[in-house]
């Protein structure tokens, strides 16, 4: 056991392992690129959807049920499915990651919108704000803390799941996990897993700090 950790430490800290086209630095950059792009696309879909449902109050059942649907969705199954349909490309990976992130975003955005005090919305309308002004000047800023929580949640799920890119022969930190399994190289497998965990936690902590800073004037 001690031997394993010593080897893992060596693997993670060796300069050789970090450099080159399949070094840790490159894999890390790929991993972040997949994750951020997928989360961004998911936000572009989920955010407007959640805002629309929250503002109009129509289609609330979609927002509520989408989260359980998202949890039940088998990501690897989806990758294989899209892979069979589209052939070898990044499409299966992105489709699966976006599908994973959208429910968390819609559900949290919707939750944020419904948490806005009805008296405040009433006052906003009563002062003469039009529908879009109520949405952009009152509801959106007040829902923002929960929307950001949704974004954090989605990003972490995506970062943890982006290892599947390697499953269909692409890069990212999943490369070490899948290659290590194939080569029965436990140190490499663990190295990849530890790196994924570390960046997921680091992103979560950073975003939480940002959230605290942005909303320092809020009561709750």
């Amino acid at each position: 056991m001690y031997e394993l950790f010593k080897n893992l430490g060596g693997w993670l800290t060796s300069g050789e392992q970090w450099a080159g086209p399949d070094g840790i630095a490159t894999r890390l950059a790929e991993h972040l690129q997949y994750s951020l792009l997928a989360t961004l696309v998911a936000a572009a879909i989920g955010l407007p959807l959640g805002l629309l449902i929250g503002h109009t109050g129509k289609g609330a059942f979609v927002a509520i049920n989408l989260s359980s649907f998202g949890r039940a969705l088998p990501t690897v199954g989806l990758v294989v499915l899209v892979f069979l349909a589209s052939g070898l490309s990044m499409w299966p990976v992105y489709v699966a990651l976006v599908a994973l992130a959208v429910p968390a975003l819609v559900t949290n955005t919707y939750a944020g919108m419904t948490a806005v005090d009805p008296d405040v919305k009433d006052a906003a309308r009563g002062q003469g704000m039009r529908g879009h002004q109520v949405l952009l000047q009152v509801e959106l800023p007040l829902a923002l803390p929960l929307i950001m929580t949704g974004l954090r949640l989605a990003l972490i799920q995506v970062v943890a799941t982006a290892t599947i890119a390697a499953y269909v022969s692409f890069g990212g930190l999943g490369r070490y996990v899948f290659d290590g399994l194939a080569q029965r190289d436990l140190v490499q497998v663990m190295g990849g897993a530890v790196l994924v965990a570390v960046i997921a936690v680091a992103l979560d902590v950073t975003l939480a700090a940002l959230q605290r800073f942005l909303f320092r004037h809020r009561t709750a």
Partner: protein
């Protein structure tokens, strides 16, 4: 100024909120809508700025049918204050007050300057402008709510139980402030409350509603108290209807005489001739001197509490001007009542 014509409001669940309402609210006065919950008073108020649309009938503000105006523009021209203040928690107090001016496109600098001016108008310190609503007390929040409603200087102010959620002491302060503001600004105010004492205190006219959205009586407070239209109104006005009537009259016309000499009790004055207390051979009792602006109700109260049945009258500086007896007050109260009933 505000005219309801055969206004009816039926909610989708089948309840009638307002039943065939025709009512004219004069310009520059405070009209209080009262009644128990579910009587349609809030719905009536909210139909004025189209927060609720009537099922039938017309409502005119300043002669113009509200249904023919753009709802958002109409609302910007009417001040609106609600119970929990409804302040925007993510904006500073100053930006909250500047809401309507900004919607009207005044520009940030001008809107902020106007907001700062209003902070003072409603009795808040300039530093309060940089705070966030949750950093203020309930009473202060309500003041900000009033300032926000006044920001674009609208001729009409709608107030939906604005002081319902603050404690009684603060509520009295806010009522006094509103009366002071109204003396300066002479807005047309429509005020909803379920508190009849608040209605009597603030209203130039009081409209009483009964469940089902029926307007029962609309009259000046004195008339309402002296001549309630029916048992419902009398019940609503409460057991102390007579005393409330006294609260509307001031002491100004009650005659006063010199302090009597040689009784058991004497009124002790300081060197500036301000009353200190009542004194007998072996006791001292407090005195609460009254000015001409105090009500007959407080005069009656003081005369009952006073050991001699006399009240000490003072001028604005607190200097003794004379005394009035319980009989003087009674006689005057009687006359006031007769006047209202006979009118």
């Amino acid at each position: 100024m505000i005219q309801f014509d055969a206004v009816h409001k039926l909610f989708p669940n089948g309840t009638t909120a307002v039943h065939d309402l025709s009512l004219a609210l004069p310009e520059g006065g405070v009209t209080v809508l009262v009644g128990s919950s579910g009587c349609g008073k809030t719905t009536t108020l909210r139909m004025i700025n189209r927060m609720v649309e009537p099922t039938s009938g017309t409502i005119r503000v300043g002669g113009k049918d509200v249904q023919e105006q753009d709802a958002a523009e109409l609302r910007r021209s009417i001040g609106y204050v609600i119970q929990q203040s409804g302040l925007f928690p993510h904006r500073t107090v100053l930006d909250n007050i500047a809401t309507v001016p900004l919607l009207l496109g005044w520009g940030r600098r001008k809107a902020r300057a106007r907001a700062a001016e209003l902070l003072e108008t409603v009795g808040l310190a300039p530093e309060a402008g940089r705070r966030y609503p949750h950093q203020l007390s309930g009473g202060q929040q309500q003041r900000v709510g009033v300032a926000r409603a006044l920001a674009a200087d609208p001729p009409v102010l709608l107030m939906d139980e604005p002081f319902g959620a603050v404690d009684p002491v603060v509520r009295t302060q806010l009522q006094d402030e509103l009366l002071r503001l109204q003396k300066e600004l002479s807005k047309t105010i429509v005020f909803v409350t379920h508190d009849i004492d608040e209605a009597v205190r603030l209203g130039d006219r009081i409209a009483i509603f009964r469940t089902g959205g029926h307007l029962i009586q609309c009259a000046e407070p004195a008339e309402l108290l002296a001549r309630p239209a029916d048992d419902f109104v009398a019940d609503f006005l409460g057991a102390e209807r007579g005393l409330k009537l006294l609260s509307l009259r001031t002491l100004a016309d009650v005659p006063q005489g010199a302090v009597p000499e040689g009784g058991t009790w004497t009124l002790v004055l300081d060197e500036a001739r301000k009353p200190l207390h009542w004194a007998s051979k072996d006791a001292e009792l407090p005195v609460r001197p009254l000015q001409d602006t105090d009500s007959l109700l407080s005069a009656l109260n003081e005369s009952v509490a006073s050991p001699t049945g006399l009240i000490a009258r003072v001028d604005a500086a607190g200097v003794l001007t004379g005394v009035s007896s319980r009989d003087d007050i009674h006689e005057h109260a009687n006359r006031a009542h007769t006047e209202v009933v006979a009118a």
